[in-house]
Structures are given as structure tokens and as C-alpha cells.
Symmetry: C2
């Protein structure tokens, strides 16, 4: 009974400071989403197992948390599990509610997801995802909007970023071009590691994965591509000119880069970018922070048939996901949280008797009517205790109420940063705060 309570491995409590920071991140992101007409939806934490199974590859199924049925009819009830991401629930939502949705549909979701991963540093079993998608149009203007949203979000957060761009059709074209069309997954899995393991190891892995020496040789100039985006694109356009799908991918990328030419955020065409997921069919994005070693902080891409798995084929869409936990860590590392965190208490009333406490309550009421965030220490405790509470909560002002103050209809206002004390009337106090 005296054993300290705990929470499951891989889960976290978020205290007031962490919540203030997370809310800062989410509210910044949401304000930008609103500027582009995106609307929030929420789906249930539990989905039918039939919705979740088989959507995340073989490994994914093993990482689903299942929920035990309880009570009567436990054997009859369909099996349920906790959602693994927001994309599959989104696809299920679209198909289930298609009669009520105005397409193209612009939605965002900010909710936790659950994965029974082995917990380690930076890897949690419960974590938030923040997804934004446009679905029901194949227009590349949607790609532009997501790029604009990325630029604006990170500008507001103060994080310098670079956006990496690729296209799944280009990767498919490359696979065909080098003579290994059925090996696109092997190729992209290997070349995705170029930054981490270097060219020699990538080539070794490609060989281990069954690519012929000829194919690997044909790949080298592509992996060695240099120059501006236009130069790279021109080279790849030339290489793939006889390849239909590759050329289509080049055209799409050319259009996206052109639409985005007035954007200030750096955009880099990166032919090694694959992002591992099978449902991307066009543009692929990844955003990296320039001043922190953290991997990608936002990613996504275009998909032409997400809802097909639920029976509604050929609905094209594009989306990105903001990695809230990574953004949190970057802002912490780079010390980018604003000094005044959202909505913190502005002033504490410290009273030293019951009458003084009632006096303080009256003042507090008036201050709150003026939209000032006030706390009244609830007991007439010793000065030291009340001050130390103000310090612990970093409350910038304390209004001290003693007999003197009551008689003169004032409070003694202490600036907790400078230590300065001044006697003020209620009007003076309201004006000051």
C-alpha cells in the first residue's frame, strides 16, 4: 500500500509545464490549419480489429493493442483494438460518412495513437499524432498548400527547416529503368539509408537484396545526383524519358516545385527519400530541422487509393503528419518556447487573516472581470509559505493584504522579479496588469 504508484511502460504523465508547451505547439499548428480551411475531426480510440488488421504490414499487426471484451456477450462481441495511427481511421471515416462529406475534404486530427513497441528512450507506446489531409482531388495545388502550411508552422515556432521532396512515380520509374521493376521496395528501403550508412553499404545491401550488378551500376548516377533542383530534375527527366511512370513523376514534381517557387523555405529534391509506406503513389515529403539532430519532424505524401481498402476506390488525397514529440524536443533543445507560456497566472493574492482573505476575494473578482488571471492563496498562511508558492509557480506579481491595506483600500503589490513593492489602488492594479 505504501509502494509508490506507477504507470505502464512507455506511457507518460504530462504535468503543467509540459502541457503548456504541448498546447503551445498544437495551438500554433491549429491556427495555421484554420487559415487554410482545414476542419478538425476526431475518431474513437478503439476500432474494430477488422478495421486495423492487415493495414500495417506483418510487423504492424503484432504491435496492435487489443481490448478484451468483458461482461455478458463477451464471446459474441467483435474484437476491438486501439488505433495504431490516424490514417486508417481517417480512411474508414471517409467511407463510412461519404454521404455527409463535402469533397474535397480538408481535415485535421490531433489525437493519441497506441503501439505495443518495445519501450525505449524517445519511443513511447502512447503518443500524439497530428495529421492534416486534403482528400477528393488529385490537384497538385494541395501539395502546395501543405508546403505553405509547413513553412508557416515552423516560421511561427521559430524552427529553421528544410523540406525534402520526392515522388513515388519517379522511384517506380527508376526501378524500371535499372531493370528491376519488381524490386522497388528493396531499392527504396536500401537507398533510404544513404545518409546513415553511406554509398558502399547501400550498394552492398542492394546486392544482398538481389539486384544485379548491372542494375546497381545503372543506379549510381542517380544516387550521385548533384546541383539545383532544376538541374537534378533535368538529369532525371532525361534518364527516364522513355519511361512512362517515371516521366509522369518528373512532371508532377516539376509542377509542385513551380507552384512553390515563391516559398521561402528551402526545398530540396531528394531522390533517396522513400518513407517506407506502401500507400504513397505520388509526391513524398519530409521535413528536417536544420539546427537539431533529430531526424524528420514532419512527413507525408500523396495517395491515390487509401479508401480502396474500405470499398471506396480512386479517391485521391495528400497529407502530412507533424511529429509533436520531436517538435517538442527540438523546441526544448533550441530553447524556443516563449517566455510567457499561455494563460499563466498573473497575480497571487496573499492574505494574512480571515478578513484580509475576504477582502482579497473581492479584489480578485473585479480583476477577473477585467480578464486578469488571478489566484487567491486559499488560507491565511505564513508569508514565507505563500511567497514560496508564488515562486514555485513563477507568478510575476503578489498582492499582499494586511490590516493597513484593508483600511486604505489598497494592496501592497510586490514585483517578484525585481523585488520592488508599491502600494496600489484597485484601478492602478487593473491598469498595470
Amino acid at each position: 500500500m505504501a509502494q509508490k504508484p506507477n504507470i505502464p511502460k512507455g506511457t507518460r504523465d504530462f504535468g503543467p509545464l509540459e502541457m503548456a508547451r504541448r498546447n503551445y505547439i498544437f495551438s500554433t499548428i491549429r491556427s495555421v490549419f484554420a487559415l487554410y480551411g482545414f476542419q478538425q475531426i476526431e475518431t474513437p480510440s478503439m476500432e474494430l480489429m477488422s478495421t486495423l488488421m492487415g493495414k500495417y504490414g506483418e510487423e504492424g499487426d503484432k504491435l496492435l493493442f487489443r481490448i478484451l471484451n468483458s461482461g455478458e456477450k463477451a464471446n459474441e462481441a467483435p474484437e476491438k483494438g486501439l488505433r495504431y495511427d490516424l490514417t486508417v481511421p481517417f480512411a474508414r471515416y471517409i467511407v463510412q460518412h461519404r454521404e455527409e462529406i463535402a469533397f474535397p475534404f480538408r481535415r485535421y486530427q490531433i489525437q493519441p495513437v497506441w503501439r505495443a513497441d518495445r519501450p525505449q528512450k524517445g519511443r513511447y507506446r502512447e503518443f500524439y499524432q497530428c495529421d492534416v489531409d486534403v482528400i477528393g482531388t488529385d490537384s497538385l495545388v494541395s501539395e502546395l498548400e501543405l508546403i505553405q502550411i509547413v513553412e508557416e508552422v515552423y516560421k511561427r515556432l521559430g524552427i529553421r527547416v528544410c523540406l525534402h521532396l520526392n515522388n513515388r512515380k519517379i522511384l517506380a520509374g527508376i526501378a524500371e529503368f535499372i531493370g528491376a521493376p519488381d524490386k522497388i521496395i528493396d531499392i527504396t528501403t536500401a537507398i533510404d539509408k544513404l545518409d546513415k550508412i553511406g554509398l558502399d553499404n547501400v550498394n552492398k545491401e542492394l546486392s544482398e537484396r538481389g539486384l544485379s550488378n548491372d542494375a546497381i551500376a545503372k543506379l549510381q548516377p542517380i544516387l550521385a545526383l548533384q546541383g539545383s533542383n532544376d538541374e537534378k530534375l533535368a538529369t532525371i527527366a532525361d534518364l527516364l524519358k522513355a519511361n512512362e511512370i517515371g516521366s509522369k513523376g518528373v512532371e508532377e514534381t516539376r509542377t509542385v516545385l513551380d507552384l512553390a517557387k515563391d516559398q521561402t523555405l528551402p526545398i530540396e529534391l531528394d531522390l533517396t527519400l522513400a518513407r517506407g509506406l506502401n500507400y504513397y503513389t505520388g509526391t513524398i515529403f519530409e521535413v528536417k530541422a536544420l539546427d537539431a539532430q533529430i531526424g524528420s519532424i514532419t512527413g507525408g505524401g500523396r495517395y491515390d487509393n487509401l479508401t480502396g481498402i474500405f470499398g471506396l476506390p480512386n479517391v485521391s488525397g495528400v497529407g502530412i503528419s507533424f511529429g509533436a514529440d520531436r517538435i517538442y524536443d527540438v523546441l526544448t533543445e533550441l530553447n524556443l518556447y516563449p517566455a510567457s507560456m499561455l494563460d499563466a497566472t498573473q497575480i497571487l493574492f496573499a492574505a494574512f487573516g480571515d478578513d484580509e482573505l475576504r477582502y482579497a476575494l473581492k479584489w480578485a473578482k473585479q480583476l477577473r472581470e477585467a480578464n486578469i488571471r488571478v489566484e487567491v492563496y486559499p488560507e491565511p498562511a505564513k508569508m514565507k509559505k505563500q511567497m514560496s508558492y508564488a515562486d514555485a509557480k513563477a507568478i510575476p506579481f503578489v498582492a499582499i493584504v494586511g490590516g493597513n491595506e484593508m483600511q486604505s483600500n489598497t494592496v501592497m503589490l510586490k514585483n517578484m522579479t525585481t523585488g520592488e513593492q508599491t502600494q496600489v489602488t484597485i484601478e492602478q492594479l487593473i491598469n498595470k496588469l
Copy 2:
């Protein structure tokens, strides 16, 4: 495969309108919490079963959703379940993090909870709770603050309410007074139904529950109590004057009513109010909407030993819980949602060619820099389709871009409510919106 997908019984998707309404409710509540210095925390969805079991009565344990362990070490891992409420996680949080917490601790939590109830109309298996508590002080000033918060929240939402007040010590005193001190649960369970089943049926139930005729007789004047709060309190003070715990309850209630005398919300002393939970030890609150038949929309009370179950005894606190789903239904029934829901798109650009689309994108960029919420229809589709999208999303203005407009650096602005169309420059448009 063509079968329409579905979600588990008792769960709900929230579409854009529902989310806008829920966000309106939560953001109203959160702004009021901030005025009183309350800080948000979040706890994990899954808790250890050892944390959850035995906290909700016999019936409660059956309603817990258990999470199956998966993968390696499934047999060794401690059992987990989804949280059933926010109160037990809150108590666990306090004890686990007591070294880091500045008491008195003022926290709120707005998160979903899960109960394996039999799903019915109005009863969900996943629903949000919105709890606010002060813990670490027994000062009745905290009761006042919660009353003030209730008044302000419902004032902002436009819902007329009445707050019912009682005190567990008074109920304990009554039980002793009528000679049935060990039957407080039976008594309170029965009299809690007075409104619903009437006095005769309540007396019948009390008899069935083993109260003597003598005890029931002694209870009648208490159940028949009339008059103002002061009058009722005077009567009960007199009846319980020889009873220590009852008198203490009367004193506490007198203090709370006195502290709250400047509040405008109606407060009614209601001696039949019990709220079923065992951990209340002092003040008990319940809030009813005056203009809707919906039961209670907020409730709570004082507890002296919540954290005792986790090994930290004698930490007093008081809290209330806002019933978000019920508030949602009341606002819907009374048609109290604001006409302009938060953050909706203000203007849609409708372009009729690729050049027009690019022109629209340039305008959209400038409007967004002026903080206007803009959508650009992503394809040059037919007028009818684009207009009908604007209607479906209730977008109040459409900026039509054709060849004419491009040449004159204007757009044709259509007011979707009046039908009126005017040609405007970008400065005029920004000023208008």
C-alpha cells in the same frame, strides 16, 4: 470488402460541426479555468490494473476495459486497463509526483474515459470528462472558487442553471440523529430519488432497506424542509445541535453560503443531494440546467482522503466535473451555439482556368498574411460544383476569378447570404474581411 465499415458499439466519430461545437465548449471552460490559475495536466489512457481495480465498487471493476498484452513477455507484463474516470488517475498522479508539485495544486483535465457499459441512447463507452480540482487545502475558499467558475462558465455559454449544495457531514449527522448511523448509504441512495419517485416510494424503500419506522418518522421533517437556505439551515442546525459531525457540516455549509452570497447564480441547499460516491467527505455540488430536462450537467464535492488509496493520507481537496456531452445536448436543444463557429473559412476562391487558379493562389497568400481564413478550390471545376462546395461548407463569401478579373487585378466578390456581387481590389477585399 464492399461492406460499409463501422466502429465499435458505444463509440462515436465527431465530424467538423460536432468538433467545432465541442471545441467551443472546452475552450470556454478553459478560459474560465485560466482566470483562476488552474493548469492542465494529462495522464495516460492506460493505467496498471492495480491502479484501477477496487476503486469503483464491485460493479465498476466489471466495467473496466482490459488491454491484452502482446508480443514477447506477454505473460510477465503487468496487466493494464483503460482509465474509467479522471479522479483515480489524478490521485495516482499526485502521489507519484508529490515531490514536484506546488500545493495547493490547482489542476484540470479534459480527456476521454472508457467504460464497458451496455451501450444505449445517451450512454457511450468512450466519452470525455472535464474535471477541475484544488488539492492540498481544506479551505472552503476553494468551494467558493468552484462555485464562481460554475457561474462564469454557464454565463458565457448562456445556460441558466441552479446549483444544489449539500454536505456529507450533514448526511452523516442525519443518519446518526434518526438512529441509523450505519445506514447512511441506504438512506442517501433512497432519498436521492425523492424527485423521481416521490416521498411515499422513498419511505417504502427506506423500510425495505431495513430502517425502523421510528427512524423513518424522524426523517420526515428533514425531507419536508422548506424555505430559504438560511431557514432550512437554521432548522437542520437545531435538529442536529447535539450531533458533532452534523453540526460541523452545518457550519461548513453556512460558511460556503456566506462566501458565495455575492454570486448571482441561484444556490439551493438540497438535503437530498448525495451523488452516490463514497469518497466525498464534505461539500457536495450538483448543477442543473433550468431550461432543459437533462439531469445534472456538473457535479462534485470535497474529499479528505482521496490519495490515501495510493499511500499519501490526509490530503484534502475539492473538485467538480463538467458533463461535456450533456452540455453539448443542452446547447443544441436550446440553440445556443454562436452563429459564427470558431475559425471557419471566411472566403473561397473559385477559379475557372489554370492561370486563374494561380492568380487566386497569389491573392490567397496575401489574405492569409492578413490573418484571413481562405480556401482556394483546388481545380478549375464548373461554377456549379465550386458554388455548391461553398454552400455545403457555409462559406460566407466566394471570390470568382475569370479572365476579366485577372486583367483588372480584381475578383468578383459574391456574398453567399445576400447573393450580391461586387468587383473588388485586393485592398478592398482585405478591408472587408
